[in-house]
Symmetry: C2
């Protein structure tokens, strides 16, 4: 009987159909376009008692909050912004997310459901990792903590570029562009390299790519799926001459590693 | 005026609000759970004239088709299954997808909209890359070809495991488990390694991980978000003793590369 019902409507038995009181959800909301939110994320946001939105101290608005604006229920929901430092300082980071964890722990112990919304995916360079680490430190049981995957910026960028990331035996390496030595290593051992935070390092990256004869295989996408701010560059040298902005992802398609002869 | 309307309802101006006649969309539908489909994918599937579902010759059913079953409109839509070979044979692959491209080209030239649904993301180890390559060869203009990103198996698996993939300066490498030498290289140059198609190589992988003292940092997720088939292993040696199935992803968290001292 249950199986028949399940087949008719699998959603009825889905634990993510609504946010459960006393539970915490780190929910990826994708790159910025509201329609790249998953149905699971939408439902959890709509049904949560508390929605926690991270906002960096250098931003006027939370991009995650803008992305899900149409799913919020401000008349019945608590919507909290949590401002976090844009410093590469482990102590300041732990302090900030420790405070957020305190708020979350209080809410769930009062029987509220809490959703933290986060741009992209909650386990790929996301503040959700800091927050959930602090929740665990505060003895929130892991079974009350959930993650909902979201479309990451590199996926949105590849779709805009219409460029294959991996096929057959290809290796894909994703890393921040900050360490040029690590970037060079990645280019030598991967068929595709994706660089986050590329904008601040464009001139050095263009030099490296020219030296490796990869300038024609590199693309830059800025603010993918963020409306009018979105830009695509197929000429990295040209991109380096402009100010292409903070949220930028570089794609380098080094080669294609064909199938090995062995069977699947 | 347009800007005001846009703010009120950004969807009104969204080119992905519905499948446009004469256009082709390669649409990622996520790992298998219907609620991990994005709103964009759902709308395109609901409004397409033709839905093309790939099915491997060794499967009885198309997993992509099962995933989106509740969004299909069989009374008004053409739903086509396209069977593809499970061989590592470039010629057979090109022939198969050349035939599918012929069907797609005919449909869009008749003014129909066509959505190819694909499990995961259409640009990460997906048949969509073969199909769109053949469409380009058949002179379908790139502006009539679109990609919609989807949640990839590695994201679904990480969310189930509740394991951070990347933070700070971490490097993530994704590759198939088929080439053990490539796996060992990836372990040496990445903080996190994700291996697709791990199930058939578990004993060798367990030996490698033991030698690298990484057995305790490795996890296996099989059939993530595919209902009752889903399994999580936190003991790779135990997983190697069982038959864990074709759709399996291994996660190895090697270390954490902290922030460099330089500013953001």
């Amino acid at each position: 009987m249950e199986n028949q019902l399940k087949q008719k409507n699998p959603m009825l038995f889905n634990p993510y159909n609504r946010a459960i009181p006393g539970h915490f959800y780190a929910v990826g909301v994708g790159p910025g376009s509201p329609d790249l939110v998953t149905l699971r994320a939408k439902r959890l946001i709509e049904t949560a008692h508390v929605v926690l939105a991270p906002r960096s101290e250098i931003s006027d608005e939370s991009l995650a909050l803008e992305t899900v604006a149409e799913f919020l229920k401000p008349e019945s929901q608590e919507i909290l912004e949590h401002i976090y430092p844009m410093k590469r300082d482990p102590e300041a980071t732990a302090k900030c997310w420790g405070e957020a964890a305190e708020i979350v722990k209080k809410a769930i112990s009062e029987g509220k459901s809490v959703v933290q919304i986060t741009i992209g995916d909650p386990l790929v360079y996301s503040t959700s990792s800091y927050l959930t680490e602090e929740l665990i430190k505060k003895d929130v049981p892991p079974e009350y903590i959930h993650f909902v995957p979201g479309i990451s910026a590199f996926q949105a960028g590849a779709s805009l570029l219409k460029e294959t990331l991996t096929l057959q035996e290809d290796r894909l390496t994703i890393l921040p562009a900050t360490d040029l030595q690590a970037v060079e290593e990645a280019l030598e051992s991967s068929e595709t390299v994706v660089l986050y935070k590329a904008a601040k390092h464009l001139k050095k990256l263009a030099d490296l790519l020219e030296r490796k004869k990869l300038l024609d295989s590199a693309f830059l996408v800025c603010y993918a799926e963020q409306g009018e701010k979105e830009r695509i560059f197929r000429d990295i040298k040209k991109a380096a001459d402009e100010n292409s902005g903070y949220m930028s992802t570089m794609f380098i398609r080094v080669s294609n590693k064909k199938w090995m002869t062995e069977k699947i």
